[in-house]
Symmetry: C2
Subunit: 290 residues, 2 copies
């Protein structure tokens, strides 16, 4: 798709307003599109989901038709987008600022429905398969961080269970540092999640410090010490940032695992817990046993 | 120390201005004091360093002399502080807002020099001893998060190496969630750090993805698979958020260890890396071998 030669220079243009409205859930719902800001996220979007990108906005140094891109990175993004079906639009600094203050010179607009349709967690599983699940995660930064950790741990996908933050919130997307485009992220209700795990034959591990009255958590050290018991397709479920998991939910899981704390810290936050639990389990399943 | 009966109700009072200035490095340097905001941090400060607390400001519901504390938590803090040598001052909501917008009703002022003098990393060490070290960490939120992870991993202390963020920055203190008061946090230059490690007999592990030209990193999985090799007093050194560690620094360490990445994520951020590396090593040294 060729790049338009004229530069969008009017911050009050209808098109500029429509893009800026994608920062809000209402604007996204109305248009069926979402925004992806910054070189890192846009690069991963163009690499892994080139087909869903509709428009790419790239910042140039002036309103002249032959104005240069503001950085080589931005020029590279424009080149990459032109190999896909996306329209590439040159915009001035003022216009980009009106669209988003976090774009660092490049912003993509993509089709929300098409992205959701592409998010399917592979049904084939083996003893290393792991799916990360987060129940009622509400903070956008946390959601982004845990999706990034799930990606690093090689998870087959992420399930956002019950009432979680909107993954199309720009802060979530920025916090994933591109990981949102690396692995399928799907949403389910609580019952739907447990049914889905049962159908797939996934053992459900809950990451929880307290456990239930009837069942205290197993320390992660004990769990890792018997790697044979971990050789099964599984999902690891993490609770809400403030309230953790409810007793109701904990009663439905197969194992409850806690991260041991050796110092005086009371607890770990959700981002830290997810990173330690998911990477530890992943390393354990990949290590050559002595 | 009894509590003053009158309520500080004038946001323009000299005392209020002086407290608010502790948010800045200049104000802290001038007065030799620092501020600790919020119930969690203040509780840990009062529990572990009661002797360094000079003043505690607690919010009450009105300017009347017998006004109630805004929450039971705040009342509890006031009671706890009165058992120490601190002066307890009742303040109105407007005054507290002028001092800090992150206090949640309670703010302590403490002696900076006395706190620094109390921060000494225990010289005795055994094969489980681990000291976390961060080279040129600059972001206040990151610094807080890694100190919290070092605490959870049971580290003997934290060394901030070379030019790091000021630990008395209120955002650092808030991000540690009280951990700053649980373990000694000291600052050193790069040469000083390596000399100190040599004197203490600490093996220096660097957490680094790239290694040097001559020495690629050992994957953490390989390192954990030979626990005998980990049975030594050690320090784990992490690099700057953006640039990692320099070749110069890497050439001086004993081992270079990288966290394996199984998915498509490019890297982990500093907070996540520190949590995974420190907790994995701590768990490995505490687990009963099969």
């Amino acid at each position: 798709m060729p790049m338009k030669s004229e530069v969008i220079a009017n911050p009050r243009a209808e098109r500029v307003r429509r893009v800026s409205e994608l920062a809000d859930r209402k604007g996204r719902k109305r248009s069926g599109r979402f925004m992806v800001e910054g070189p890192q996220s846009v690069r991963e979007l163009l690499s892994w989901h080139p087909d869903i990108v509709e428009d790419l906005y790239v910042e140039v140094v002036s309103a002249e038709p032959d104005a240069a891109f503001i950085t080589p990175t931005v020029a590279q993004m424009a080149g990459k987008a032109m190999q896909t079906g996306a329209y590439v639009h040159k915009v001035t600094h003022a216009v980009m600022q009106h669209m988003s203050s976090d774009a660092q010179g490049v912003l993509a607009v993509a089709d929300m429905r098409a992205f959701l349709d592409s998010a399917v967690i592979d049904g084939d599983s083996d003893e290393r398969t792991m799916v990360a699940a987060f129940w009622q995660v509400r903070d956008p930064g946390n959601a982004g961080t845990v999706i990034r950790s799930a990606d690093a741990a090689g998870c087959a996908g992420v399930v956002l269970v019950d009432d979680c933050v909107d993954i199309f919130n720009p802060k979530v997307i920025r916090s994933t540092a591109g990981s949102l485009f690396h692995l399928p992220v799907v949403s389910m209700g609580t019952d739907e999640y447990f049914d889905w795990c049962a159908e797939r034959g996934l053992a459900v591990y809950a990451a929880d410090v307290y456990g239930t009255d009837a069942r205290p958590p197993e320390p992660l050290t004990d769990v890792l010490a018997v790697p044979q018991s971990l050789a099964q397709a599984k999902t690891v479920l993490f609770g809400n940032e403030a309230r953790g998991l409810t007793q109701d939910v904990l009663e439905r899981v197969d194992r409850i695992v806690s991260i041991p704390i050796y110092g005086k810290a009371e607890s770990l936050n959700l981002g830290t817990s997810a990173a330690v639990m998911l990477l530890s389990l992943a390393m354990s399943s990949h290590v050559e046993r002595m």
